[in-house]
Symmetry: C3
Subunit: 343 residues, 3 copies
Amino acid sequence: MNLRELASQLGLTYEGDGTWVIQSPASLEKATLEQISFIENERYYPVLKTTQAGVVIAKPDVSVPRGNVIRTPTPRLIFAQVLNLFYRARLPKPGIHPTAVLGEGVRLGERVYLGAHVVLGENTILGDDVVIFPNTTVYNHVNIGARTVIHSNCSINDYTQIGQDCFIQQGVAIGGEGFGFVPTPEGTWYKMPQTGWVVLEDGVEIGCNSTVDRAALGETRIGQGTKLDNLVQISHGCTIGPHCVVASGTGIGGGTTLEGHVTVGAQVGIREHVTIGRGVTMAARTGIHSNVAAGSTIAGHPEVPFKVWAKYSAAFKYLPEIQKNVRALKKNLAVLETRINKE
Amino acid sequence: MNLRELASQLGLTYEGDGTWVIQSPASLEKATLEQISFIENERYYPVLKTTQAGVVIAKPDVSVPRGNVIRTPTPRLIFAQVLNLFYRARLPKPGIHPTAVLGEGVRLGERVYLGAHVVLGENTILGDDVVIFPNTTVYNHVNIGARTVIHSNCSINDYTQIGQDCFIQQGVAIGGEGFGFVPTPEGTWYKMPQTGWVVLEDGVEIGCNSTVDRAALGETRIGQGTKLDNLVQISHGCTIGPHCVVASGTGIGGGTTLEGHVTVGAQVGIREHVTIGRGVTMAARTGIHSNVAAGSTIAGHPEVPFKVWAKYSAAFKYLPEIQKNVRALKKNLAVLETRINKE
Amino acid sequence: MNLRELASQLGLTYEGDGTWVIQSPASLEKATLEQISFIENERYYPVLKTTQAGVVIAKPDVSVPRGNVIRTPTPRLIFAQVLNLFYRARLPKPGIHPTAVLGEGVRLGERVYLGAHVVLGENTILGDDVVIFPNTTVYNHVNIGARTVIHSNCSINDYTQIGQDCFIQQGVAIGGEGFGFVPTPEGTWYKMPQTGWVVLEDGVEIGCNSTVDRAALGETRIGQGTKLDNLVQISHGCTIGPHCVVASGTGIGGGTTLEGHVTVGAQVGIREHVTIGRGVTMAARTGIHSNVAAGSTIAGHPEVPFKVWAKYSAAFKYLPEIQKNVRALKKNLAVLETRINKE
């Protein structure tokens, strides 16, 4: 593909030699003359001086070494589209492996792929073009929407509802029983049965070895287009709104609501039964104890506005010095008071 | 079932219309006239004004809208029992799937269920009514007690001893080698062989994708009735006492002891080789560096009494202001001292 | 084996009765007269007074109760070797289970073991003496070096390159798509395709249910002899150098480099796109926001030198008291100033 053809496919303008041949995408540091890359963050502008990339996707005001450039206000987003053009998803062809086990009442859409040793429970229903990789277990009464991909060694429990175009990575466990135990007068724990289910709306993605529990009553819901990273925990009865992103190692307590368009950094903890407003951003490691107002940017444990936390994090290492100074001040002030009282 | 019959089954008294028909349990917010719910926490008393629940389980002093009420000092516990009455555990019927693979010397109790592609290693022994869901692997020389349930895609390594009435959720890994490496003079790491095993006593529950490692020597033990949430790490050689609860994302270091009836919040970290006394409660995110006395309630990193941490967490955001004030105080005091010295 | 024979096998000197028979290794606390143990950390010297161990491995200057001793400056390391002598790894004999599924173009070395329901994708290549336990899935175009062991229920995605003598524990997910999403002008998230792969160099070990993601472009690399504990997250595009150890619950952000010989405590978080110098040590729970110079020992969130954090962690609980004192100081100083101004 040459520069003119690629720009045309993307619906964008280009500058430079339209006949320049592009063989694949690459990072700015490693690209060769036959490759296309992109520049967006100003932090990486110095790399433009040394890059060997033949073509660069860049913002209107940025000049590139060879003059071959595709113009857009969102170079990173366009580069993602270019990657999709060159590397189509490496999905297997339709077909049911003979070792797959299908329960009674299973219904399959057109062009479904089931890998070796996949197990589908009773009355489970798969839409068209669903892909399930080997050694994944789907329990009974599960619905899986069209074009959804479930990678290998996942486990999807009873009554889970999965939308269209979802992407579930390796080792994910959905629909486990929520952690609900009632203390008894004898000091032991009595299980609160978890009779609910999990709903994933369309376009949800879940990273490797993450866990989404079913509710005690009713549903745990993950909203349209929301993306979870690896090793994330969503507890029973959560309502995660649409178009959130949740980074790795984060845990969200039972019955908590994220209203939508919430950005959650890595290793965040959110307590149970709170509401996080629309558009909130949380720094990595934030520990949430209360409701958070829509649009806030927060950090710390317990949470405070990000600007406050930034000041704290610059100051915390001086705490021992401050403590020492306060002791000295008390002493010196007392000395002074004594002197003045004597005079 | 009507109100009179249900109260009788629970061995409790009721008030109101004993012929009121109850079709299912539900939360107070969503219940309809044909449903039963409960009220325990005073925080939710306002919901009583609007609930449509036909019957409510409540403490002796609480009045409910329709007057149909089951009386108990522990409404939440009784509601859990009601849930169990209505929704019997959704367990499969006994039977060995033809794709299950059984090693030499395997012995099975009565009425065992083995799902598709379950693998049992050599000399593994299962008690009566054991249930193992599909794609789970059990290694050699494992004992599993009566009525224990192991969900799908779990992995149970050699010599693990699992008691009766345990409940192991999806994706759990038990008996992996503990993280033991000895530094060599060359700056590399030599593996300390992990020759031990894991013991789960009766009634233990383990949440999805959690991990329990076997010891270098001897055992890692989880006590009777202890419940672990999802994504919990129990390191080699731990002794977790009876009737503990450990919330999601917590990690417990090697050789550490929890004496029993310990409550561990989410994302807690406990260092290796410490002892946590009986009945300790830890807030979420506590980071334990030392032994903890029985009965304490603690928080923070490193840990302090919860009351101290609560004061700290109210104050920490003022640290930059305090730092500024201390600087100003030093300056002002110095000015004052100079003035007085001159006079 | 007797003491003389064992010392000879280890190439070390002994003192005491060379004919003393040793049946197995054990901890100092639990060893009997027929067992061998070791003492290294001075903290455990008091146990020497009561131990029943027949033979002890100890440093040159340490005297042991029965006088039967093997001398070395590194007793822990030698004990690990003794354990290896007594408990050979419990690995299965070579053989391909009839339920294993091999894709087209698979090539197997000599003496390979494939457990029940193992799946190998197309064009995957295994070296000699590779061991793969049941229910593990290996995708297409994967290379696995000689003597590598992969435990059960793991999932190894396309194009992963695994070296020789690696050890992958139960439930590990390698090669999942990195968490790369580009915000669109509409407030949704567009997937950045993850077209790269994962490389594990020789001697890498990975703990249960850990996750290593593949890069958007190019590789995620884990260096020779590096050991990861359970539930560790390595994000897309990381370069982890040789001979690092990473404890449980730690997450490392995308594109970050650990230069080698780095020791990472439990539940650490390292942000994306930073470089950690050679030989750095991080305490448990460290939260890294910036590059870290080689050889540092650090702790805290954000990170500070360990010594600074130790002082902070002793002082933090006094913050409310300091705040109170500062308020009082301001007031008292103002009173004093007023008095002096009046005089």
